[in-house]
Structures are given as C-alpha cells and as structure tokens.
Symmetry: C2
Subunit: 327 residues, 2 copies
C-alpha cells in the first residue's frame, strides 16, 4: 500500500527523465505524449507506487471529487438504504461522500454547509425540513433536495406523498373500513403535511368523518397515541399511519389491547422499510422507491456538477401500494 514515503509527481518525473508536465499528461491522459515516453512514465509510476495527491489536485482544480450528504439521522430506518444508494452511485462515479447527521437543526446545517464549502465539495444532497431557499441561494455549488422539496428553485427528487396517502386511504375504504383514523407525522414536516392532506382530501371526497391524531414519526409516541385513540374511539376500524415506524408502534399497541389485525382493525403504513416485513402481522404500506430516490438524486447532482443538466428539474416518484397481512 503506502508507506512513510509518498512519492510526488516530481519524483516520478525525475525517475522517468521527463518534466512534471509530461507526467501530468500521462496521468490525465490528455495532450500529446509519445508512446515511448508514456511507457517510461508508467514504469516510473509503478516503480514508486505513485498515487497522485488528491488534495493538491483539489486546490488547483477547485473540485474535490466528493459530495456532502446531510440527513436528519441515520438511525431513522428510512435513511440507511437511502445513504447506501447514494454512496454506491457516487462511489461508482469516483466521488466520496461526506456524511452528516443534522437532526434538522438549522444552525448545524448551516455550519455543515459552510464547512463543506471550504472543503470544495462538488455538490450537496440534503434532506431537511428546516433549511429554506434563502439559506441556500447564495451558494455557488450544486445542491439537490432529497425526499422533500425545499423550494421551486432547488432541484429535487421526492415522492408523491399526497397521492400515496390517498391510495392508502382508498385501500382501507375498499376493504370495508368505516371509521378511518390518521396517525399524523410531525408538524411542519413536508412529507407529514402532504400525507395528512391526502388523507383529508380522500376522506372528504368520500364524505367520511376524519380522525387525526398527533405523532412525530416515532414508535413510542405512536404506541401511546394509538392506545389513546382506541380507548377514546372504539369504533375505529382502520388506521393510516404517517409512516411505517408509527404503524409498527400502533400494531404493538393494538396487539397489546388484544384487538385482532386485520379482522377487527386494519392498518397501513408509509415508506416500505424492511421493518414492515419483519413484524407480525406483516405491514401493508405505501412503498417508496428508496433506492431509486438515492440513485436518482445522485445522478441528478452529478449531472449538475458536470454541467449536463441545464434546466431545473423536479423528479417525483409514485409510492407503490404493497398489500400484506395488516389489511
């Protein structure tokens, strides 16, 4: 691998008996280089186990072959797959990813962005509800918003949460549910608001009464809230949870209460994380194409970095209804 001594381009040049410019040319495969010279240089490179210094290159080129990925919290089961997809795609394109957990704290996000600017990252993928266009508009590096659209001016890759929610509700109705509650996600979170809106619109269009319960996309509060919901309102026979994690929490509560799923009560989640297939009963859900989201956002960012993408793009995917045992 690499020992204490690291050869520089000058060492290679000396050994090969050429100038550094020539070495650089063979390295980057550009400009004219005589075949014999190239051979000599390649030989010297091998002999010294020379690897061009990425930092020096960055300094001159103002590019680092790395991108920043800001997510709220990798511990949230939605993100590992997303991160994996991004890392994978970027790695194949020769880019390194700098990972940051922001907890959606604006101050922290801003600090992270400043940091990345000084490191010459070539682009940023961000998942955030707190950051707004005004915080980003002066930035000179490409940014894409992932999973949430931040503003019309920032390219994005996301899922149609509204339509997905309507599909979820429609399924429950189709299965004969008469009283359908919604365990909503946190306030001011884009995806949660959209899913709530979808629920409301679909319910209203069917002339059904709505029951909305607070939640924050987390398991434990969802358990508590479900307990409350079911004791307060015993005729509820369908629950649309704001995400799979909440649905799993709800299932725990429901099971604890001795209510049978899906006979007495049907439940559906949103996201399509693995957890849903692991629990009993397996969870029906609206599956987001997580890997595709990660991949597409990476490709989009790469296109912007390379200047291929000239117009602002917003990609929207549809969530896929996956029916399993909970409905």
């Amino acid at each position: 691998m690499v020992g204490e001594f690291m050869a520089t381009i000058r060492d290679v040049a000396k050994l090969a008996g050429v100038s550094v410019a020539t070495v650089s040319r063979v390295l980057n495969n550009q400009g004219y280089v005589h075949e014999d010279t190239r051979k000599k240089v390649e030989q010297a490179i091998r002999q010294l186990n020379y690897k061009p210094n990425a930092v020096a290159r960055s300094l001159y080129k103002k590019t680092s072959k790395s991108i920043g990925l800001i997510i709220p919290d990798i511990t949230n089961p939605f993100f590992p797959q997303l991160v994996r997809a991004v890392e994978e795609t970027m790695y194949e394109a020769g880019y390194t990813v700098l990972l940051f957990n922001s907890d959606e704290v604006l101050k922290r996000e801003q600090h992270i962005i400043d940091l990345m600017v000084t490191k010459y990252v070539d682009g940023i993928i961000i998942v955030s509800n707190t950051i707004k266009y005004e915080h980003l508009k002066d930035l000179s590096i490409p940014i894409v918003a992932l999973d949430r659209v931040i503003s019309q001016e920032i390219p994005s890759v996301s899922v149609d949460n509204y339509e997905g929610a309507r599909k979820a509700v429609r399924l429950l109705i189709g299965k004969g549910c008469k009283k359908i509650a919604h365990l909503r996600g946190p306030k001011n979170v884009f995806t949660a608001e959209e899913r709530l809106r979808g629920y409301m619109d679909e319910m209203n269009s069917q002339g059904m009464e709505t029951f909305v319960y607070a939640g924050n996309y987390e398991l434990n509060t969802s358990m508590v809230e479900t307990m409350k919901l079911l004791t307060e309102n015993r005729e509820i026979d369908g629950i649309f949870a704001g995400n799979d994690v909440m649905a799993v929490g709800a299932i725990k509560a429901i099971t604890k209460l001795g209510i049978h799923i899906p006979d007495q009560l049907k439940i559906i989640g949103f996201d399509g994380i693995e957890l849903g297939t692991v629990i009993t009963p397996e969870l029906s859900t609206l599956k987001q194409p997580i890997v595709q989201l990660g991949k597409k956002s990476s490709e989009l960012l790469l296109n912007y970095i390379n200047g291929n993408e000239k117009v602002l793009r917003h990609y929207v995917y549809q969530a896929e209804l996956i029916e399993r045992d909970s409905t």
Copy 2:
C-alpha cells in the same frame, strides 16, 4: 453564506493593510500579533465573510480534519447507531467523516484505503473481517479496528462475544431449557466464530448436547433454517441466535409454526438493536454498548492522531444481558 466570490487570505490582508502572515497568525491564534492589528484583521475577515480554505490548509499541513469510516453495509441494522456515534464524536472534535460501504470485499477495501491516503485523511476506523494486518502494516495513518479485532498490532474496540455467548446460553439453561440449538453467524466472521465458541464451551461444560445450524446473520436464511431445525428436531426448546436479526427471523418462523414463545421454546439474540424491542414478543438479547463502541473508537483514533496514545490499546466491552419476553 458564500457567494460566487470567495475571499482569500490575500484579500483579507490587503483590506486590513497587513501581510498574509499576520492574517494567518490571527487565524490560528499563534505567534505575536498586536491587539490593534488583530482587531483590524478580524474586522476585514468579517467584512469579506472570509473562511479559510480547508484544501489549501490540508496541502501544507498534510492533514485534512477528516477520517474515513469503512463498514460492511449501513443497511445492516447494527451499523446506523455505530455510524451515528462516530459521526457525532468526530464532528464535535472538528472532524468530518467519509463513509464507505465495503461489503467486506477486500479489493474494494484496499481501493478505499488508497483513496483515503491520497485525500490525507487523518485516520481510519474500519469494521472488517476480510482485511488483515498485512494489508495495513505499511500504512502511515492511524487505524482502529471496530467491533472486531483484526490483529494484535491494530488497536481495537470490541465486545466480548465469547463471554456474551456463554451468558446467553446460561440464561436459557437457567430457564430450564434442555435442548439448546445455536443458529450460527457466517463462517470466518470473527464475531460469529467467537459466539459459536462461547456456545460450545458453555454447553460442553454443562455436559449438554450441541446443535449448530448454519446462518449468515440474515433474516430470511434464518427463517428457512429455523423451519428446518424445528422439523428435524422437535425437542429443541431453546435457541441462541447469532444475532438479533437472525433471532427475529427465527421468531417469524416459530410463530408461523404455531409454537408459543416463550412457553414451548425460548429464544435469545445478540446485539441489542432496536428491532428487538419492536417485535412481538420482545426479544431477549445480549446488548452490545453500540454507542459506546462508536464513541470509544473515535476517541481512541483521535488520541492516536494527536499522538496522545503511545501504547497499543485493545478495549473490550461486556455485552449486557437484557431479558425481555422471548425467554
């Protein structure tokens, strides 16, 4: 934030009417700077919204305030917490983390390491069974092995899998299990081998017959294998699964067969991932101090980077027995 124009140290110097050396001195808070001069410089810095260029700094200092983190796969539920803890600790110390998923493919790991060397990362934390001391010995940057010990020569932070396994088996025996099977993890994986060894030793020391079934730390194969195990050998009344994911797979299979947990069969896992508390019945397990592992490995690495740590250290944590509903 940062616009198209990025001020350099020369711009600051010019505006403040001093030399770049002086600006550098106030920036790094070292050497003598007259109070009045410092004021002027700080004023200029603010005025230009100047942020020192990390890349240029790296080039000269041969340091990047970043570290590499190589894990097999972030998608494996053990890793998100670990990654979070590392990122957190590093961020607080002013370091950025470069994340890589290696799938434990040696070629890829080596390539990643080469890449990091050219990027002047200050250190590496690696989780790997494939990489060996010989691949690392020529490296001049600090490395620490996480979750697995690679060799005596590489500092490490890990868990006592052997003793943990013995504790798990002892619990099952204490609960009255007569025939205890082990769903083992993948061959040649350090943690899996240690847990197997713990199982064997504890069983043998109690004069009990052993039943070992193959597995690879994954859910689906675990389900299949459990089905096989229970049809082949109906008297099994205790299962020690190599990790929690396998335990969850086993529980699914067991539930499907209509066998009641924990009355007819008890099961215990290893890891202490969140998943275990989410399923029904909640899983008994040997909880690894995942956050501590991440934190300690980061601190250890930082100490090596800063030259504080002079002797090679191996930290070993004990897994904690957590009894829940599956036993």
